[in-house]
Symmetry: D2
Subunit: 340 residues, 4 copies
């Protein structure tokens, strides 16, 4: 009795792509990573030697034609996510796309339409936090009524200051701080509150790295979102932390509050020395969400094999993008902005 397996081709083997590749090659049950695509020859060489992938491609379209391919895993640059997703769906392939689903709302809607046109295929957008064990446990607690009816989410994404200088040049392509970093917080707020954002107000500044201001971006921001039902969210971003990558989220309901990841401890070790009592913190989202990256890839494969659809949908990708653009506009115009 042979279990069915999913044959996957990965596109994009930068740092995040390599991480996905290692999971697909070695850790995801019932997945066979059979092809890889990159425009960087060294990355293809790495795929051969470290992932044991024999079929490598410099051209995405060629990989889609690889015989027996079931699915693609996109970890390419944001600019091509939408086009590559649509192209793969048109080829009859299941698609996992890293966030963002597209670089603007129109692209997102085009992907949504392509997904809708192929109800036989699985499409999964990489909102990795939903697959983190702590976040998914918190969601289950909320669904079980542990905090009553949730009405407020506070969620932040905070990166180490040492990465900030490298982020400035990505602002034009990443869409800036709200689209690049708050997109996950937006998705979490929608997920926990079960509602859509109606209006937003965002403020921020370049408090540590003035160069962000010159590209109309910021290094620290805070924002409020009002949902249609009146529920609320507070979003924060910092590019300038010194203790570690500090993604955390609070969900408040009518009977209690849940907090997820408040102190981003690297592990279960505490040090008691002349600096006091302390924990070291995770350095980046790779370290924080390593379990989530594995879980989302497994969910993708399981959905394909079990003929079911992920709970996170293309529509979620579009809605989060809409709110990200609204936050950006609010920050730049210093006004309250209504979403579409």
């Amino acid at each position: 009795m042979a279990t069915r397996r999913v044959r996957i081709g990965i596109a994009g083997l930068g740092r995040l792509g390599k991480s996905h590749g290692l999971n697909l090659a070695h850790r995801v049950v019932n997945a066979d990573l059979i092809a890889a695509c990159s425009i960087v020859p060294e990355e293809l060489e790495w795929a051969r030697s470290e992932l044991g992938v024999e079929s490598v491609y410099g051209d995405y379209g060629s990989m889609l034609d690889h015989a027996g391919l079931d699915a693609v895993f996109l970890a390419t640059s944001s600019a091509v996510h939408a086009a590559q997703s649509i192209q793969a769906l048109d080829h009859g392939l299941h698609v996992f796309s890293e966030k963002p689903m597209g670089v603007n709302v129109e692209e997102c809607r085009a992907v949504e339409a392509a997904v809708a046109a192929r109800p036989d295929l699985v499409f999964l957008i990489g909102f990795v936090r939903r697959f983190d064990p702590s976040y998914s446990y918190a969601k289950k607690l909320v669904d079980d009524g542990a905090i009553g009816e949730p009405f407020l989410v506070r969620s932040q994404t905070v990166d180490l200051d040492e990465y900030a200088p490298f982020q400035v040049r990505f602002v034009p392509t990443s869409g800036g701080i709200f689209l690049d970093m708050n997109i996950h917080d937006i998705d979490l707020a929608r997920w926990f509150l079960g509602d859509e954002v109606e209006s937003v107000y965002a403020i921020g500044g370049s408090f540590v790295h003035p160069e962000f201001e010159s590209v109309r971006d910021a290094d620290n921001t805070v924002a409020l979102a009002t949902f249609r039902s009146g529920k609320m969210a507070v979003f924060g971003v910092s590019r300038t932390a010194f203790h570690g990558h500090d993604t955390h989220t609070e969900v408040t309901g009518s009977k209690g509050t849940l907090k997820i990841g408040m102190t981003p401890a690297k592990n279960r070790v505490e040090l008691f020395d002349s600096s006091g009592a302390r924990v070291e913190c995770v350095r980046d989202f790779y370290e924080r969400f390593s379990e989530g990256f594995l879980a989302e890839a497994q969910e993708f494969v399981d959905c394909i094999l079990q003929g079911r659809k992920p709970t996170v949908t293309a529509r979620d990708g579009t809605k989060a993008t809409e709110v990200g653009f609204a936050l950006t506009e609010s920050f730049r115009t210093k006004s309250i902005v209504r979403t579409y």
Copy 2:
């Protein structure tokens, strides 16, 4: 050699007044509580038996004439704070006033003027958090540069849900959720950031107790404040917590973040039982700030005896009130509001 002592009369002996009275009678060094005033006869009886105060008054003006009185301590209803402060200053008495300094900005300015007219007298507004050992320690750390230049404060005031039903009727006199509860957070943000609020935006709702909506108030709110320099604050209030009184504050600067009171543990006891690993929390602000109430009374007496002025001033009272009104207006008009 007799140390000089300060002879104090207290006005108002409700729950907070009683707490102040006990401190003044028994704990504050170099203080003599010699008179008490209340419109409630039982409270005067309590002052005699529990505080050992022999001279009690039903009329505030009469107490001001008490021979040898140096200072008054006001824990009366908010509506009379301004008038009683001004009256006492005019009598040449030092004044401690509970917050708010006045119920509107005009009253606050009148108190400011009265204080300015008597530079020989000490006036202290009861922004108790500044005197809490953790908050004052945090301020010292910030002043010492522990987190670099501070640019973001997040501060919240959260009360137990069981008190909410009793708060509805106080909304008309307390000024509502922003003036009654966020006033301390506003003061802390100004204190830590060393700057004045330029504009605010507040949202909120009656998520648990709909009766707050009927008095144009809310049971949970969040708000953003932009300071003149571009620095930022996030304010939160909840009247509907189940774990305890949860006042906490974060201050983020260019080199790190301080958090004050994140988990409002009642004491140093942890319980490990079938509910997991837990701490019980403080029930109310009396329990959370008992040390602060003593420290502010001591500071008041020390300032009088040492001929110096408190670092918190009447102007701080006015500015916090201005912001509180701006938040209220923003919440009610659903618009960004600039402060005076």
Copy 3:
């Protein structure tokens, strides 16, 4: 109506005596500190100027004759505790004695006998941890059945390394590490378990400061105690911590575990900076137990005024001392030692 007040003379004004003196002069309700005694003239001068005490004595016996004295507070050197306690009781005075009650078991029993001979007087031994808000709260939880039947106590006393060099010379008079430092842990174990120690086994070494070995003492020790009912305790001491004074205690019962003071945080401030997420710790037992010192003095005064006896008794002082000597003997002989 004049409340009765207790007129107290303090003996010994070293660091701990000064701390007690300030509480008695300013913070303890219904206490009048009217006399002070010290063999150090500067300390008497300090009592005059800082405590406002007018009657000062170089001789303990003379202070006992001070007209109207109700009680004495002993913070003298350990060597004279027993003799001074007995002398005061014989004078008809209530006695608060710092620990230890005596420097050997015979002295303790003599004090016990003197206390028994004067059932009209209050005698309180300064087992301050019982009066710490967290420890007393934990005791109440245990008594209320929160952890079922308690059967295991783990308790440690840990001091900053920087004090160690000064402690070496005190070993001959203090009785060494078990009597000087574990005495509180022993008392807590007896208190929580409600039983007497039957046998002990102690090990230790001079791991950081070899000079302790030369006086037959240690800088770090651990010990086991078996109680008559079979209940158990683990005692630890370290003189060589770098993070702070780290007294903490665990109580395990048939339904759960309580932990008291596990991380000896200085206050409610957390720092997030390049060292990670940390809290600073209390430096010494003065800082950790400042509330307990006040509460025990208040309890002493309240017992006198209310005509009741403290729950901690002279017998508790004797029993803890017995166990302290047994631990010392066990450590030195490397054998299991049965208590009396």
Copy 4:
């Protein structure tokens, strides 16, 4: 270029065996689980359907003859560990053995001899905590000098009370509480201190489940160990916790203390509700050490492929067993026991 892979047969598919099997089948890089052996037919059926193992055996000897087998993974009952290890080594197979290595010291020494006779083979004893990310990180910190010279380890193993009734009948075969549960703590103490135990003293009792006494065992124990250099360890076990599986360890050195896993939080979620502020805890060692189980299996495979030996050796298995027996003897004879 084909990476070499390790072909593994697993023996024993109880709960722990299943967990190992899933790792070997799906998660361990470069491992092929090609055979399984069990005396329980249902377990072999499970291996076929869930692990995709085609060759299953009811007889261990037959599996050893499976063509192309490189290594065996033993998760059988403790009674056969030693014999099966020796048999596999004699067959020229690499061996992973769950702890204990043998049920008495003689068996352990026989395994040691068999391992020594085959220096070409990898033998790994499943001291899983060494492979837990927090423990291995702590070891690295200690090796890097973060706490100076370590001299004291306190380590405990604590299980949920609900498992206790099932443990009574295993006492005769498991060797009792010290061998079954403290064996990991003993190994950790030896690992962190780099020294061998010279003498031990253990006490304990059946405080919750009297049936343990009838089999000369206990449900809660504490013990002291003195090492040859004078370093110290404190070991604790409880079978009667209600909050979760609470394995934790402290390592104290001349410059600081490390604590590992003090509060056994299930994940990064905190709940704030009417019970206070709490975290839920891991239920058992499977949940606590799931990462360690994967890491030790990966280390086994990597050692085989890279021709190196694990840092944990057969000698470690023997030494921990020696100490476990000494603790048992001490507990039963109520005396200090020297190890071999």
